[in-house]
Symmetry: C2
């Protein structure tokens, strides 16, 4: 029966989240996954070719969940703010997306280990996937700031780099948050993540329109 196969696959994915999300990819073996899932090794190879394949599947699954939730929140937020000024739209849109991300991590911190730490340091295959997904989020961010400030892409401002930086700030803050055991209150984390977007949003017009330092402060 195919339902049985799918059910076992789901069990394996759950065990994978537990194992990879707590001990990290490289500390996990096939036997451990099977023990955690309450299955024997045979059923591992029934659904996955290797540990890497299992990790990839888990990673893609988590990412799909996050992406769906983010896009849903974004269109909902966008519907309720389409006529406001830029500053408010940053608050609403970036706030909505950041809230989804932080809730996703807070609700199950094992996801952070899988998505934010391990995914970028495993084999070439997984890094390809991770790179592709990162590029998707960068594209989302890039489009986001591009739409808010259409005149931004000038005078040495590189939207990809800014988007990469914003993404990195979110990732690092979230990772650090989890590492510290989520002891910082959720709203404080969200507020400060958002503050970076707000700061760039406020600074953007000045940045794009007027002086950008052409000699980037040679050191010493």
């Amino acid at each position: 029966m195919q339902d049985r196969v799918a059910q076992r696959r789901a069990l394996l994915l759950e065990a994978a989240l537990e194992a990879f999300g707590t001990r990290g990819f490289h500390a996990v073996t096939v036997r451990e996954i099977c023990a955690g899932a309450g299955l024997t090794e045979r059923y591992f190879y029934e659904s996955f070719k290797s540990l890497e394949a299992l990790f990839s599947a888990l990673y893609l699954q988590l990412n799909d969940q996050l992406k769906r939730a983010t896009l849903a929140a974004l269109i909902a937020a966008n519907a309720s703010s389409s006529a406001w000024d830029s500053s408010s739209r940053i608050d609403v849109l970036a706030g909505a997306a950041l809230r989804v991300l932080l809730e996703f991590i807070r609700d199950d911190p094992r996801r952070a280990r899988v998505m934010l730490i391990d995914a970028i340091s495993i084999s070439h295959d997984v890094q390809q996937i991770s790179g592709q997904i990162t590029r998707e989020y960068m594209e989302l961010t890039r489009r986001f700031i591009d739409q808010l400030f259409p005149n931004a892409a000038s005078r040495g401002v590189d939207l990809d780099l800014i988007a990469s930086g914003l993404l990195g700030s979110n990732i690092h803050i979230a990772t650090h948050w989890v590492r510290e055991g989520l002891k910082t209150p959720f709203d404080v984390v969200l507020r400060n993540c958002l503050a970076i977007y707000q700061a760039l949003g406020a600074y953007w017009p000045k940045l794009a329109a007027s002086t950008m330092p052409d000699k980037p402060t040679p050191a010493a």
Copy 2:
């Protein structure tokens, strides 16, 4: 002779930078390190207890180099700008530190793999070290922005979080830069890294003094 031991240790560290920096920690074996160093396995254990110990030593070495260069650049930059306004001091100090970081990566991109990617995903021991070093850089950044804007730590602004975000933006931009083969010009990368600092610097007074959104834009 102890010089001989130290020399072999240096050879091993160099081979480690090549191996870890190009293929990543988990794809590397003791034998490969020894082959790369032109030594036999015996001399590996003469200087290091395990691959992890070698990695830790390499990581600490690289970090020491970067830290020294950064501090030197900072005091040099600080000496030449002690009386200017806040905005210019951001440009000079953050610009100097960022320049050092980006040069360090550009001059040898293998360092990025070791310091920015692998160091956070290996065993617990290495993660302890990595966490400690991250905390040091966060403290540096935190002191940096704290000194520039003493009134900032108010109204829900968490300097640790902002520092973490800035650090994350640098790390992510640098990592992405290396992944893309350093094809983006150095000055463009530097300018845009710096822009995030400048944006926060410009936004800070407003942020700390006046309205910070107390309800963080509930989504949907």
